[in-house]
């Protein structure tokens, strides 16, 4: 049952991801990326990581994708203005990505990873567990990430501001 669910989600993920790349309209790319993110969130739930699944939807689908959408609409990008590479480059890109995939798979095979099974009952990935981790072991990085956010915010405002 879970395997079917995994296959379905994976297929959706891969198709939407491919559509992001191959779609000629930037707007379609953005929308299909949102679909992709939702399926990834589904994978997270399959993996018992409920907290991350929620955060993923909020951050990616809610915040990041909205930013993308706004940018695309602000810049008024559409199918007609979309630039394209020559076919040679496109073929080369596919071949390069394929080669990378092959080498990665080969290296995974050769790495000889052990086989794991998903523990049946565990509280890993629940809010409480992550929260404890965040506020004990990862306290310092957590606080520092706030500084990162602030500097990113200031930077974004400064960069996007109209020059006088």
């Amino acid at each position: 049952m879970i395997q079917y669910l995994f296959f379905a989600l994976s297929a959706l993920t891969i198709i939407s991801a491919l559509y992001v790349v191959f779609s000629r309209n930037p707007m379609h790319s953005v929308l299909s990326l949102i679909v992709c993110f939702f399926t990834v969130a589904g994978h997270y739930i399959l993996l018992n990581a409920q907290f991350l699944a929620i955060v993923h939807i909020i951050v990616y689908a809610g915040a990041i994708m909205v930013l993308f959408l706004f940018t695309v609409m602000l810049l008024n990008l559409n199918r007609e203005t979309e630039p394209h590479k020559t076919n040679w480059v496109k073929i080369a890109a596919v071949i390069a990505a394929g080669m990378l995939f092959l080498t990665l798979i080969a290296s995974l095979k050769m790495a000889g990873l052990g086989t794991y099974s998903l523990p049946h009952k565990s509280n890993i990935g629940f809010i409480q567990d992550i929260g404890v981790k965040l506020f004990t072991d990862f306290m310092l990085p957590f606080e520092i990430s706030t500084i990162l956010f602030m500097s990113a915010m200031i930077g974004a405002v400064l960069l996007a501001k109209k020059e006088k």
Partner: protein
């Protein structure tokens, strides 16, 4: 060994005062008024002199004081300490250095008063005194070597003091290079000593050397190498040509460095290494031969020179040769005695010549002088006293020391005695030729200079008078036993020279009888007086004048041109070296080194130009490169 703790402090202070003077003048000189710097420098030397004098009166002649300041170089098997050795020999040298040094400092205040770089002058002068004291006070060869190099440096700086004149700079460079050639010998000698005896300390080296057989090859090598150093510093054949050129420096410098102190460093060094030389008779012979040859050759050249300072310079070379001859025949104390008296009268003569030059506003050619005795009385009288002293007329200082060497030479070898006597006659002749041409007859210069002739200020004349007094009475420290006196100077030094003398006395013990010595004395004095009278006949009665340069012929021309030694060196050594350098410039430097360097640059440039094309600014291309890079890395990691 005497270790009186009350003597350590003044002993340590001796070289310190000139160093302090050097630092004050060198660091803060430009904030001080020019008139003060000279007095600071003089006071520093005077303080040093007082310390030396205190040591002289309080240290018994049999004693020596060894002060180890700190352990300088120490590893594995040996230690070299930075130590002072104060014994009669070093005290004698230090008395000369600081005493005459002080007088010359005071003289310089007057002589250099209108020079713009007077602070620099006194800075160098103090530095020189410091290094010279270090040279004579050191307790091992390495400390001596510091001083040895230091005085060479100061000599270079002071010869080229008027650095705006290219000829003076060349003279300074010549002095430095020639000294370096000698220093190489000294350095090699030091390496031999260190390698074979494991120490550079005088006492240790002498102790170990005396255990070797007399005349062993090692000792001959060491002593000959050290002697090469001495020929450089003390201007002996074949390295003497720098000294006459060194007269380019200010006259007080010539008096202090190139007559009284630095050039006698070689004598001091050989006396200090007396045991080594006594153990190597072959080296002694070489020293004697070189000394005699230098003595004669320089005296001959001196006969024909027309520059007042050049005459004195060749006279110095000649007198140094005499001292080396004395050392070579084993009369160490006599050599030192002549060193002291020579320091008195040669400093006096140089300062006197400086006073003449000062009076004539820089004129040095004796053909343009004459009749000066009327105008500059003090200079004339003191110069005359110096000339009498150097000519060996009793009872002036030069007589006793020179006579002593001559009698020792007679006992050693008649030929050496004969040559030295002839040189002494020549010395008497050219000195009085100088006196007559400078101070007698009529003035031969221009009317303009004649009007301005004036006696020097008292800062210059007082040192002259003191030195004149020393030149008259200085010889009394070493009245010979033939007159019924105990030889004070010899006795004073005996603690230092005794070991070497002891080794020498084993081979030949013959003393000249008193009657022979009387005959020798009379011969020498009569010869000197005869030379003086001949000079008087030639230049006063006949009113001869030195011929013009162009009119000279034959042997006169050769002598006037200093036997063409400089030209011979130029042709035989300098020119081939230059040709060789040019050859290397073309072959090694331009062909090989430049090729390698340029080829490297060319390869780098080419690869840069080629690889630059990769940097095409296309982001897509960069990403492609990155992906392929990752792939290649994975492949390498996995399959290779």
């Amino acid at each position: 060994m005497l270790t009186d703790s009350s003597l350590i402090a003044p002993g340590m202070l001796i070289p310190l005062f000139p160093l302090i003077g050097f630092l004050i003048n060198g660091l803060f000189g430009k904030y001080l008024p020019k008139s003060i710097t000279g007095w600071i420098a003089s006071l520093a030397v005077l303080a040093s002199f007082c310390c030396v004098f205190y040591m002289f009166t309080n240290l018994p002649s049999t004693g020596s004081l060894h002060i180890d300041l700190f352990n300088w170089i120490g590893f594995a098997n040996f230690n070299i300490s930075f130590g002072y050795l104060i014994d009669p020999l070093s005290i004698t040298m230090m008395l000369v250095v600081t005493g005459i040094g002080f007088l010359i400092h005071v003289y310089s205040i007057g002589y250099m008063h209108d020079d713009e770089g007077v602070t620099r002058f006194f800075t160098y002068l103090n530095l020189f005194i410091f290094f010279m004291l270090l040279l004579v006070i050191g307790s091992n060869y390495l400390v001596m070597f510091i001083g040895w190099e230091g005085v060479g440096l100061c000599s270079y700086l002071l010869i080229g003091y008027w650095f705006k004149n290219d000829a003076f700079n060349d003279a300074a460079k010549k002095a430095f290079v020639m000294n370096r050639i000698g220093d190489l010998g000294f350095l090699l000698g030091m390496f031999f000593i260190l390698f074979n005896f494991g120490s550079l300390d005088y006492a240790e080296v002498m102790k170990q050397a005396s255990l070797l057989p007399v005349g062993s090859a090692l000792l001959v090598t060491i002593t000959l190498l050290l002697f090469v150093g001495a020929t450089g510093k003390s201007a002996q054949i074949p390295l003497y040509t720098w000294l006459p050129d060194a007269m380019a420096g200010p006259t007080p410098v010539s008096a202090l460095i190139h007559a009284a102190t630095m050039v006698t460093a070689g004598i001091y060094m050989i006396t200090r290494s007396g045991v080594l030389y006594a153990m190597a008779p072959f080296s002694m012979e070489i020293v004697a031969i070189v000394g005699v040859a230098t003595c004669l050759m320089a005296a001959i050249i001196g006969l024909m020179q027309n520059d007042i300072k050049k005459v004195l310079a060749y006279s110095t070379v000649s007198q140094l040769g005499l001292m080396f001859a004395a050392l070579g025949i084993g009369a160490f104390a006599s050599g030192m005695f002549h060193l002291v008296t020579h320091a008195f009268f040669k400093a006096l003569l140089f300062l006197g010549s400086g006073s003449v030059i000062h009076a004539l506003h820089g004129e040095q050619d004796i053909r343009k002088m004459g009749g000066l005795s009327k105008y500059i009385k003090v200079t004339f009288i003191t110069f005359l006293i110096g000339s009498i002293a150097i000519s060996g007329i009793p009872p002036f200082a030069g007589f006793f020391s020179k006579d002593e060497i001559l009698s020792k030479a007679f006992e050693h070898s008649k030929i050496i005695w004969a040559i030295l006597s002839i040189s002494s006659m020549m010395t008497a002749f050219y000195m009085f030729r100088l006196v007559y041409l400078t101070f007698f007859n009529d003035f031969r210069g221009t009317e303009v200079t004649k009007k301005h002739i004036h006696e020097s200020p008292s800062t210059m004349t007082i040192p002259l008078i003191i030195l004149a007094v020393l030149s008259i009475f200085g010889g009394f420290i070493g009245l010979p036993s033939v007159l019924g006196f105990a030889h004070k100077f010899q006795q004073y030094l005996s603690a230092v020279t005794a070991p070497a003398q002891h080794i020498l006395d084993e081979s030949h013990a013959a003393e000249v009888s008193h009657s022979t010595e009387w005959i020798l004395i009379f011969t020498a004095v009569i010869a000197a007086i005869a030379s003086i009278l001949y000079a008087r006949y030639k230049y006063i009665s006949n009113k001869e004048q030195p011929a013009e340069d162009a009119s000279l012929t034959g042997i006169n021309k050769m002598v006037y041109n200093k036997f063409y030694v400089d030209e011979i060196y130029e042709t035989c050594i300098v020119k081939p070296l230059k040709v060789l350098s040019d050859l290397f410039l073309v072959l090694i430097d331009k062909l090989v080194i430049d090729l390698v360097v340029n080829a490297t640059a060319w390869v780098v440039g080419l690869s840069g130009r080629t690889l630059r094309l990769v940097q095409n600014g296309n982001t897509g291309f960069y990403v492609f490169a990155m992906v392929f890079g990752i792939i290649v890395l994975f492949v390498i990691r996995l399959f290779i």
